[in-house]
Symmetry: C2
DNA sequence: TTGGATGCAAATACTTTGCACACGG
DNA sequence: CCGTGTGCAAAGTATTTGCATCCAA
């Protein structure tokens, strides 16, 4: 989370033009803590700048995420993926090709649930997603 | 992961008709370990049963997931969600209303990466997603 | 001035729905 | 036979793209 000054700096460092739209989108997103969708951000930005287009919001969020100014909570959102297994286990995702490998390790199933979770939510479980680059993608990149 | 006999049993227990399509879809999914999309399952099932429709695959996967015969890897896949924070932290998701709350706990950032992950993938990090039911949804349900 | 950013509309991708017919129990 | 499941086509939703115009640097 950056201040507006830091944000402007960060854009310049990355060669991104600092536009009014980008500042609004960044401000709206960083002031919210519920991880909104593009549509929700669009609706909120529109209140201050009605001329903005939804396509700009999409493009801007994508650009920010590529430049590591924000993150996408849902990396695999573009299509649903299914798992024949219902027993607790974890996943390792290749951030390039989106391949998923199962991870089974008893120690990972014994995580202590933090107090902040238990506080109000009725906890059902948890999933750990490891992220990395698979050998095939690593080989392709280094060429 | 169930044998075909166990699967048929499990369907009966849940009051689900055992159809040829359902058996094929379950078999294809449980034999793969890459967590395919509906389209990929459709393409593979089609090789054995060309008359199947993509809509049936979608409906069937949804039904299976509701009855806990399979799981959806991507619960939030229906729309992308963004986070203004790029520093490592974790999430608590309400499985009903899809609300996301940030979880910060230093102990969660010190997980030991399992050997099976390191083996080949170049690991970039991990995210933990806790899942539960938020107070609002819990109140609504109990009525 | 100039390349990157925006806005609009059209296109695409994924998923869901309505309905007539088929089939499992 | 009854009610659930299926297939098809159409509709719905989320997202991306092409392109003319605009604007930050």
């Amino acid at each position: 989370m950056l201040t507006m000054e830091q944000f402007i700096q960060a854009c310049r460092q990355r060669g991104l033009n600092v536009t009014y739209q980008r500042m609004l989108i960044y401000r709206v997103l960083s002031q919210r803590h519920d991880h909104p969708s593009a549509e929700e951000i669009y609706q909120q930005v529109r209140q201050e700048y009605p001329a903005i287009s939804l396509a700009t919001v999409y493009k801007t969020l994508e650009t920010f995420a590529e430049h590591n100014l924000i993150t996408k909570v849902t990396q695999l959102h573009d299509q649903a993926r299914f798992d024949g297994e219902t027993e607790p286990h974890h996943h390792l995702l290749c951030v390039h090709c989106k391949r998923i490998v199962d991870i089974r390790d008893e120690r990972l199933n014994q995580l202590e649930i933090p107090e902040s979770c238990r506080q109000e939510f009725q906890i059902l479980g948890y999933r750990i997603q490891f992220e990395g680059i698979c050998p095939e993608c690593a080989a392709r990149q280094s060429c």
